[in-house]
Symmetry: C2
Subunit: 454 residues, 2 copies
């Protein structure tokens, strides 16, 4: 990186470049590069244009250039689309993409000693899934698995980093960011390399895009719910305070829990694509146990509830658990309430509903992308219910292995395009992008994937 | 309960009691009873009076009457004292007390078959600690250990239930509520009965009152912090997503964590008596492990910081960890931030400070009693830091065993009265109650305990 910076600065000084600052010089240079087709957002809102823009170049030694195979449209893209994100910079959209490495910076190969494996192993030609944020893979935050908050990170498809709805995309810190589909031995899964490779062969290409964001995010929501100490009481049969010591055997003279106490009740608020992924992950994890459970999935849009029903009938054909679609919150106010509520919407109305649904000593797991509104709870409300709240973005790189395993296991749900239970509604060309954004924002279409070469 | 209801209703009907409603009839009846001295709060605020009121009677079969030995003044009493709780009913104050059972309802003894042990075992003459809320001990909520949210519960010293700053107090559902100090075999501790009895003998009477609320609440805060999945990553060395499966061995190809990643940094915001209890519990739990940690204790009041320092020098004389008292939040904004922050104040200023202090993927554990203000976070703030929040009241009955063990172990801290490190500043008579409330509210005095017979 230092070398490149030095050369550039020297170039800038030598050539004078009157009245051109660093940024404008870069633009001047790249304007001479070959161009590509990309989906760009224009402020203030609802303005999507498909344009010819320069093909990205390697800017830093850790960069990779990925030729995009498929790129998806995500619910959280709508925050920018609607102009709710306070952004006014034109940029290429999209943070979910898969593709093939076509160029690598100077950091890769033999000179990558002491760095994450992918720096030495990643090769031009490798097929990759990119998590929706960049992570260096070398800092404490990354080591702890909190990759989406890496201090060197950035979100694709934001003012900070051009997105993946293009024919080519620059991936910074690619050795710490990408998942290399061409080298399953680099993964941390409970599958052997051979099994992982065999599993990969059976996974449809369109469903691989789900690994960039929505499937890891769904798994993240479900795992946060099931590992929360307030859920562990019922899940493990260890009442408070034993739930605080899941690893330790402590004596207890408390009465044993009965089935009523151990019945887990979950609600999922929001059945967009991430909500469905969360539901599938939750049901998959729950069905591995012997505890009674109930999952209630809630969305005001009928087509989403129908999708959930179609998914549900595949996952629980034996009738364990039960599915209901509830539009009237009032029906929920009687009784104890939910052990945990997964909030997969990202607004205050969803948070308030989650609060109404959750039991005393329950947990609200929010993976929705929230905006500038103050959260709709008073301190007294939270105190009076002993509520736990988990907020935030999925560390998608970290959650890749369990998400991959779920994807491989559940191709019946995730594998198709346009089936009643399939998450992917259609694969469109970039020429359809403005219309797809419009229809997606209106709830008229579900998950859309773009093929930049169609 | 049904029998008593029937008799009372019959009495009401038979005697006509013109224009008297149920409540006024009760007062009429009890006004003829013997009287006692009690500390009462008068609306709207700052009005504490010591008055003669009727000695409480058994109202329901599950009731016990406890002769109060000692009753303490708690920081959360100040919410009512200041008039912040929206209450306008005169009532006896106080929710922390120990005493001796002097009367029992019809539910106790031989007829208590199938009910919690205390119904058959509790006897007149038994010494007891009362948790600050009532719990039935027989419902699903109680079985899960969430006793402070028992649907049959109530808070002592509130409009719903007369408090313990009196010579006598009525304890509803006493068989599910009280801890019986005279029968250590009824406890769920990791100590044997013999050890527990021996430990009890060495515990000062004044410090037993701490078991009613503040010590269990401190332990609750510390245990919630240490068991949170976002703390378990560093604590157990299992990075995300392994932290979601503390009970399961999963393969991982992630890089091993280094000491920097595993160093736990905690802040305690608020060094009132509960804050000190939380600090002692946290340090005690941390010192059982081999992980590096740092605890930073914060309070604007110098005398409280001095108390914390005195306590700290007893707990960590070997210098493991380090204590700092920070008044300037700005000093904290550099660096990663705290693994977890314990918020032991109960206002928005403390919550905002906790947010500023906590790291990305950190946890805020709030045991402060919060009021009617909306919590001071936007959804975006919580999303952008991946913050976890734990709110609410301590289930004091549930937390009694670990709190008792800590009390026994740390008599050097908890045992004295008026020492630099002692939590109890003084034992006062009821005649001093108005002045003690005033001084406590102003931060001029620490923990005060009343002796109703002084």
């Amino acid at each position: 990186m230092r070398i490149w910076m030095f050369c550039s600065a020297a170039h800038f000084r030598t050539h004078g470049a009157r009245r051109l600052n660093w940024k404008s010089k870069l633009i001047q240079t790249t304007m001479t590069s070959p161009t590509q087709s990309a989906v760009r957002w224009y402020p203030p809102s609802f303005d999507i244009r498909v344009e010819q823009v320069p093909v990205p170049e390697i800017n830093e030694p850790d960069d990779a250039i990925v030729k995009v195979k498929l790129a998806a449209l995500c619910g959280s893209d709508l925050h920018i689309y609607r102009g709710h994100a306070g952004i006014n910079k034109v940029h290429i959209c999209g943070h979910e993409f898969i593709g093939e490495v076509v160029k690598l910076g100077l950091s890769y190969g033999g000179q990558a000693q002491g760095r994450p494996d992918l720096y030495s192993n990643l090769k031009v030609g490798d097929k990759v899934v990119s998590p929706f944020t960049v992570s260096c893979g070398e800092c404490s935050v990354c080591r702890l698995g909190y990759t989406c908050r890496c201090p060197h990170g950035a979100l694709f498809g934001s003012p900070a980093l051009e997105g993946g709805q293009a024919q080519y995309v620059r991936v910074p810190k690619a050795g710490g960011t990408l998942y290399n589909l061409s080298d399953t031995s680099s993964w941390s899964t409970s599958l052997s390399d051979k099994t992982a490779t065999a599993a990969l062969d059976k996974i449809s290409e369109s469903s691989l895009v789900l690994l960039a964001d929505i499937l890891p995010t769904g798994v993240f929501a479900a795992m946060q719910a099931l590992s929360h100490p307030k859920v562990l009481t019922a899940l493990t049969g260890r009442p408070c305070p034993l739930n605080f010591f899941p690893l330790k055997d402590l004596p207890s003279k408390q009465d044993a829990l009965v089935q009523e106490d151990r019945t887990l009740t979950f609600a999922i608020v929001g059945l967009g694509p991430v909500g469905i992924c969360a539901a599938v992950s939750l049901l998959d994890l729950l069905s591995a146990g012997q505890y009674p459970f109930r999952v209630v999935a809630i969305d005001p849009i009928e087509s989403r509830r129908e999708k959930m029903q179609a998914v549900y009938s595949k996952i629980s054909p034996d009738g364990r658990g039960s599915g209901e679609f509830i539009t009237k919150v009032q029906a929920w106010t009687s009784g104890v309430g939910c052990t945990a509520v997964l909030e997969v919407v990202g607004n205050n109305s969803a948070l308030s509903l989650a609060y109404d649904l959750v039991r005393d000593f329950g947990a609200i797991i929010s993976v929705g992308v929230h905006g500038a509104n103050q959260v709709p709870f008073t301190g007294r409300q939270l105190y009076n219910k002993n509520v736990s709240l988990e907020f935030g973005r999925c560390p998608a790189r970290t959650m890749f292995p369990p998400a991959f395993e779920l994807l491989a296991k559940r191709q019946d749900v995730f594998g198709g395009v346009g089936d009643p239970s399939s998450l992917v509604d259609r694969i469109a060309g970039f020429d359809e992008a403005p219309e797809m954004y419009r229809a997606f924002e209106k709830g008229e279409v579900g998950k859309v994937i773009f093929d930049p070469w169609k």
